[in-house]
């Protein structure tokens, strides 16, 4: 009996021939990432009382949640982190203006490679399954343990395999596919599970789109979520690491691996864009069911959908159009590199001319702490990842989650709209 990819990676990292579901292993950690909560990790680490981190080369710290500092308290947190990384010799530190959102920065700088075990003090660390890594979120104190010992215990997960075939309908994207899946499986539908996405539709996707699937799998509880390690991915990595990574059976499940469940999806099922309605990511409906809902704020950004292809589609929809007077549109490129590229390609100009405000690369309003907080009674449509009560501001605000295309179309319409609704109208 063969192994799933999660089992294979954990077996390698724990020095075993073979592992199976529910087995507890102690795995060596290849990469440990933190953002502002590195300050919490630092405090726990100091309490443990070890002088030096286990391996400064394997720790990456990226400031993204509150950049630039919005308060004196945050400024003090940033300062404490800077002093710590300096004292510990942690070279991979991305300060304000040098990086962007942690998951995007890890990806575009080639930090994550297939077969790695990656932990991050951020739940969306599952994103790095798009690079063939066993990547999962942990808490700050647990990370202090990793900084101390360089290893961590895991219960080997059961694996859910999701096979996707067919072609995307016009204006339907990876975001719509994963929202559709979460709507079907529920917010706990993959709790404690590994997810393997496979199939011709997945292999036809860009790396950026695969990251959306792995990222949002967190919202159905996944421990890790993989997309295939194939030529598309290896080319992406070669461009960012400057070296060739050979294909290897170590980066793929065995053909006779055992799955808890196999789900098959034909993209014909996802015939239109999907929207996660308040206040749960699994409260998913087709856009036609909520069309016409007035929106006061629209957001394109986040670790889920703030990449170049996301800005491209928003710019395409808004080129020559105006954001509706009722609505404000915030655009937050996921990284400095993406911002620069979007300037070069003219997307930023298109968006600004349409009336968008461009926020600096970072998490922006997604986590509800700065740069676009919602008032009571306001409705927002957002390309981000959570719509929990009070997530982006007032507990009496409403957040709808959708693709960048639907967000851009809704910004132009002033109400939730299908991109086709907008594109049918004459350009002003």
């Amino acid at each position: 009996m063969g192994m799933t990819l999660a089992e294979k990676i954990l077996a390698r990292a724990s020095g075993r021939e073979k592992v199976g579901p529910d087995e507890i292993v102690v795995a060596a950690i290849d990469l440990a990432m933190s953002h502002e909560n590195a300050d919490l990790v630092r405090k726990s680490f100091l309490e443990i009382g070890v002088a030096r981190v286990w391996d400064p080369e394997r720790i990456v710290i990226i400031l993204d949640h509150r950049v630039p500092a919005e308060s004196e308290r945050t400024a003090a947190t940033h300062k404490a982190i800077r002093e710590f990384v300096h004292a510990q010799g942690i070279r991979h530190f991305y300060d304000v203006g040098r990086g962007g959102i942690c998951h995007q920065v890890l990806a575009e700088n080639g930090h994550v490679l297939p077969g790695m075990v990656v932990v991050g003090t951020d739940s969306h660390t599952t994103t790095h399954g798009a690079f063939g890594a066993f990547a999962t979120g942990i808490g700050a104190t647990e990370m202090a343990g990793v900084w101390t010992e360089g290893r961590l215990w895991f219960k080997t997960p059961f694996t859910l395999r999701i096979l996707v075939s067919g072609r995307f309908a016009p204006w339907v994207s990876a975001k719509d596919l994963i929202l559709y899946i979460i709507g079907r499986l529920g917010a706990d539908g993959a709790d404690y599970r590994a997810v393997e996405f496979e199939g011709p539709a997945i292999r036809a996707m860009t790396v950026a789109s695969r990251m959306v699937l792995a990222n949002l799998s967190m919202e159905m509880g996944a421990k890790v979520a993989f997309t295939p390690v194939d030529e598309t991915l290896l080319e992406y990595l070669a461009a960012r690491t400057g070296r060739t990574i050979p294909e290897s059976p170590d980066f793929a499940p065995d053909p006779d691996a055992q799955y808890e469940r196999v789900i098959e999806i034909d993209l014909r099922e996802v015939s239109e864009p999907q929207v996660a309605c308040p206040h749960a990511v699994d409260n998913v409906r087709p856009v036609s069911a909520v069309r016409g809902t007035p929106v006061y704020q629209a957001v394109v950004g986040s670790c889920t959908n703030g990449r170049l292809e996301d800005l491209a589609v928003a710019a395409e929809i808004l080129r020559g159009r105006r954001v509706h007077p009722r609505t404000r549109l915030l655009v937050i490129p996921a990284s400095q590199q993406i911002l620069l590229e979007a300037i070069r390609l003219g997307y930023i100009q298109n968006l600004i001319e349409a009336g968008a405000m461009i926020n600096p690369p970072g998490c922006g309003p997604c986590v509800g702490v700065h740069q676009g907080i919602l008032a009571a009674g306001e409705t927002c449509i957002s390309s981000t990842n959570r719509n929990f009560i009070g997530r982006m501001g007032s507990k009496d605000s409403l957040v709808y989650l959708a693709s960048p295309a639907v967000v851009a179309a809704s910004a132009a319409a002033g109400e939730i709209a299908h991109p086709e609704d907008i594109l049918e109208e004459e350009v002003a």
Binding site: T141, E142, G145, D188, A280, R386
Partner: protein, 169 residues
């Protein structure tokens, strides 16, 4: 660990399914990094009244997927430092569960207890064996037994004391 750990307290609140980390501890308080102070903001947005009902050692009872969402450890710290002795739920989201063990807050999985317990019930909880007793009636509910690794960390008081003993000077 061999000795049975017995906890006793009241059910201070009974909550539903999918109680997320933003409900438990809103993002706006994430720049508070003193664990002890996080308890002051437990459930701040949605049900702040629960805080005043918690007496030290009381239990929270919840449905499935408790603590889903963010990896923020402050959510677990807020539950603990608001005075909660243990959370009994039909199920936990995985990061919240690990954070609980690491901070020394017992997280007890029992769909049976979660379905039947009511606010105000006086309980006795045998942590290692996984037995919950409703004191008034003597009824018992089975909980998933703790795996040895989690039991070891919990009885040490969490990961920091555990590692401190192992490595600290």
């Amino acid at each position: 660990m061999s000795a049975e750990v017995k906890l006793r307290g009241r059910v201070a609140a009974k909550l539903g399914d999918n109680i997320d980390t933003d409900l438990i501890y809103p993002g706006r308080f994430l720049n508070i990094t003193d664990r002890e102070k996080t308890g002051e903001h437990l459930f701040e947005l949605a049900f702040p009244e629960i805080r005043s009902r918690i007496r030290p050692g009381d239990f929270l009872v919840a449905g499935k997927n408790f603590g889903c969402g963010s990896s923020r450890e402050q959510a677990t710290a807020a539950v603990k430092y608001a005075g909660v002795g243990a959370v009994i739920a039909a199920g936990f989201a995985r990061i919240f569960f690990r954070n609980s063990i690491n901070l020394g807050l017992p997280a007890v999985v029992s769909p049976d207890a979660a379905a039947h317990l009511e606010e105000g019930d006086e309980l006795e909880l045998e942590l290692v064996g996984g037995v919950i007793t409703r004191v008034a009636t003597g009824e018992t509910f089975r909980a998933a037994p703790l795996d040895p690794r989690a039991a070891e960390l919990l009885t040490a008081g969490g990961l920091i004391p555990y590692l401190k003993k192992k490595y600290g000077s």
